[in-house]
């Protein structure tokens, strides 16, 4: 497929407050098949500033994919999701919920708020790698994403 021969790398925004998780995700994506630029927002407010290109984020590129944790300081992931999906300029961005929460309530609510998929963070590294590869395969190779205006 042509996606493998993308001219530009995929832009991913990881919204995650745990630096260990951030690094681990970056490491796993780094080892991946797909070229990507991963930006990180450490809380919900920062994520929204990034997405709305406010302040220091005025020059950033709109991400092709958002990996969103739910439990975040300041503005939590649920709110961030709701705001993305109610914003006409942002709602087309696929949002993958990547969280430790197994609460049924969270699963139901996020899908109701148009989350694109819900993934529980595996405890085991091997499984985590599998998950990341699946994301790559599905969202970054198989799925045809909308073209983001630069």
């Amino acid at each position: 497929m042509s996606s493998y021969k993308r001219i530009r790398p995929i832009n991913i925004l990881l919204v995650e407050d745990n630096p260990a998780d951030v690094r681990l995700t970056q490491e796993v994506f780094k080892d991946g098949k797909i070229r990507n630029n991963m930006s990180v927002a450490m809380d919900g407010e920062e994520a929204m500033l990034y997405l709305l290109k406010k302040g220091k984020y005025a020059e950033v590129q709109t991400p092709d994919l958002v990996l969103l944790d739910l439990n975040l300081p300041k503005k939590d992931g649920r709110t961030v999701l709701a705001e993305i999906k109610s914003d006409d300029l942002l709602k087309f961005i696929p949002v993958i919920i990547l969280t430790t929460s197994a609460a049924e309530q969270d699963i139901l609510n996020t899908y109701s708020n148009h989350a694109n998929c819900y993934i529980m963070k595996p405890v085991d590294l091997g499984q985590f790698i599998t998950v990341v590869r699946s994301i790559e395969d599905f969202w970054l190779s198989i799925v045809r994403l909308p073209k983001i205006e630069e």
Binding site: N18, A20, L125, F128
Partner: protein, 645 residues
């Protein structure tokens, strides 16, 4: 020649009144005792008054007519018969003597003779009539006397007979000693009863003094003479006392002495009537001791026991425990009611319960009632019981109260403790859940980075580094298992609504889930006729899966055979999961249900040691119990109950 009958006819027809008056005069001159007696008794007034004359005229007329008609003898017999039967008014049959009759007839004869010379025409005629008269009179008189004798003899005999009977009766009375004593107390007569009572025969005792019946002590105290003196002075003496038998044993006697006087009112002796009242004394003694026994039972009962009069609810009995409890002495309580001792509100309560008991005629149980005693507020558990007469009328109210103040305080404390414990338990569970949940996060980091380290740097550092990394990877894996189990354990009590489930469906789901394990071990799972039960589907599935998993895991050398049975008992289902595995020694049969308890090495049988404690929690959540029946090497049978509804 005219006869006696003609003469008598003449007298009756011509001379009746004269004859009667003459007869009365003759009688007057003869001084007949019977007539005197009649005059004494007032039956006859004087012999001169008209009434007596008229009476005599009438009776004379009748007797003369009887002579004329030849029925005189018969009439006399009739009269005597009336005597015999005691029917003559005013005179008792004993009061007539033969001499009376002879005199009466003599008076008659003399009267008739007096009038004979006037009637007879010659001496021969007079002599003939006189002869006839004498014969007749003699005959009548003899017959009458004969009859009188007969009557009197009969009477005498009867009297004698009565006396004999009376004597025999007295003699033969066995229950009473009836004896006669003289004025000094010497025994004059003796009866069966006396012999029976005292043991002496009549020969042994006649003439002896009654002091022989007294005990030595009584004799020393001069009691025999003392008692006799009272009888002499008052004519009567009555007493109860111990008396001596011939054989030296004693008995209780009820003695009555009664003075006997002769006609001149002189004391001649005493009758002595004695009754053996040993039995009665014994019965009374028995009754007293029974009473004492019941009293001591009542007094020794450690609960307050009281009895109130049904009429006005006043205390009529009160025991020692009651005194101690309330702090009032018995004498203050008796005759009083609740309002005399307790605050109005409490007295109202007690009284209303009393009335309910009496109205319903049934026991009332009051599990807890406060009572203000002299020693402060106490709590009682009281039962109140009506006591009814045989006719069904409420007579008394019986109350039994146990002082439960201490128990109640302990119970309240226990409840408080239980509440605290429940709270701390649920806090602990909450803590376990939160802790295990929050531990996931750092664990994930540690375990991920250790693995990352392993994948990137294994064999790139030295040998030690490899070993350290391996330990770190193992440790993090094991920690993950533990935390997962802990999470599972703390989730058991998260309340979810119960629902009805078909156990055979639950079982087939389990078999699907455990497909690999079953296939690999070659296990055979047998179950039949499992019921429909009410519970948390997920937990019940987990319970069976854990038990089946254990049965497979702890299999011996044989292929595992797992049999699941159920039966209904006392509103619960009893399940049994039986295997042919390695079994458990008896000493561990309790221990295995404790969280994190392991019996086997981790290398041989991996696991967290939390599975059975989860099973226990699930069973308890469904109102049941779990236990194991097993022996090492002989398989195990895990049994548990679950509420059927």
């Amino acid at each position: 020649m005219r006869t006696l009958k003609d003469f008598i006819k003449h007298l009756r027809e011509n001379k009746l009144r004269e004859v009667a008056i003459y007869n009365l005069n003759v009688i007057k001159g003869m001084d007949i005792p019977l007539i005197k007696l009649l005059q004494q008794k007032g039956v006859l007034k004087s012999l001169d008054d008209e009434a007596t004359i008229q009476m005599t005229v009438d009776s004379m007329s009748k007797s003369l007519l009887a002579i004329i008609e030849g029925t005189a003898l018969q009439n006399a017999k009739i009269s005597l018969q009336q005597w015999k039967e005691d029917k003559i008014p005013g005179i008792g049959k004993n009061e007539i003597q033969p001499s009376d009759l002879i005199l009466v007839y003599a008076a008659q004869k003399k009267t008739y003779q007096h009038f004979l010379p006037d009637f007879a025409s010659d001496t021969a005629e007079a002599m003939a009539i006189l002869g006839e008269l004498e014969d007749f009179q003699t005959e009548v008189q003899n017959d009458a006397i004969q009859m009188l004798f007969t009557i009197q003899k009969e009477t005498e005999l009867k009297l004698k007979e009565t006396e004999t009977k009376f004597r025999l009766m007295v003699q033969n009375v066995k229950d009473y000693s009836i004896i006669m004593i003289d004025t000094e107390g010497n025994i004059q007569s003796w009866n069966e009863g006396a012999q029976y009572m005292n043991g002496y025969s009549v020969e042994e005792v006649i003439g002896k003094n009654i002091s022989i019946f007294y005990t030595d002590e009584d004799k020393e105290n001069g009691l025999p003479a003392h008692n006799l003196n009272i009888a002499k002075k008052t004519g009567h003496f009555e007493a109860e006392g111990k008396r001596l038998k011939k054989d030296g044993s004693t008995y209780w006697a009820d003695v009555t002495l009664t003075a006997i006087y002769d006609e001149g009112e002189k004391l001649v002796g005493f009758s002595k009537l004695t009754r053996d009242i040993t039995k009665q004394k014994f019965a009374a003694e028995e009754l007293r001791s029974l009473n004492n026994f019941l009293d001591s039972v009542l007094e020794n009962i450690p609960n307050m026991v009281f009895v109130k009069d049904a009429q006005d609810l006043r205390f009529v009995r009160f025991n020692k425990a009651g005194e101690n409890l309330l702090g009032y002495p018995k004498k203050d309580m008796l005759g009083k009611n609740d309002y005399d001792f307790f605050p109005r509100e409490q007295a109202d309560f007690f009284t209303s319960k009393d009335q309910a008991v009496l109205n319903q005629n049934d026991i009332i149980n009051i599990p807890e009632e406060p009572i203000e005693t002299k020693n402060g507020l106490r709590w009682l558990h009281t039962k109140k019981i009506p006591i009814v007469s045989p006719a069904g009328r409420a007579m008394y109210l019986l109350g039994i109260s146990e002082d439960i103040t201490d128990i109640r305080n302990a119970k309240l404390q226990l409840e408080q403790k239980t509440r605290e414990l429940e709270r701390s338990n649920s806090e602990l569970e909450q803590f376990a859940y939160v802790a295990s949940h929050d531990l996931q996060e750092p664990l994930r980091t540690v375990s991920s980075y250790v693995q990352l380290l392993a994948s990137r740097y294994k064999d790139k550092l030295d040998k030690d580094a490899n070993e350290f990394i391996d330990f770190a990877v193992d440790g993090s894996k094991r920690m993950r298992q533990l935390i997962n189990s802990l999470l599972e354990y703390s989730r058991v009590n998260r309340v979810k609504p119960f629902e009805w489930m078909e156990l055979k469906e639950v079982m087939s789901d389990i078999e699907k889930d455990m497909k690999d394990q079953i296939k690999e071990s070659g296990a055979e799972i047998i179950y039949n006729g499992l019921p429909k039960i009410h519970g948390d589907v997920v937990l019940i599935g987990q319970l069976f899966q854990n038990l089946i998993g254990n049965a497979i895991k702890f299999r011996g050398t044989k292929k595992p055979e797992i049999k699941i049975t159920s039966k209904k008992k006392n509103g619960q289902y009893l399940f049994s999961v039986k295997d042919n595995g390695i079994g458990i020694s008896k000493q561990y049969s309790e221990k295995i249900f404790i969280i994190f308890q392991r019996l086997n090495s981790r290398e041989k049988y991996p696991g967290t040691g939390i599975g059975l404690s989860i099973c226990k929690k699930i069973v308890e959540r469904h109102g049941g119990k779990i236990w194991v029946e097993s022996e090492a090497g002989k398989g195990s049978s895990f049994n548990f109950t679950i509420n059927a509804e």
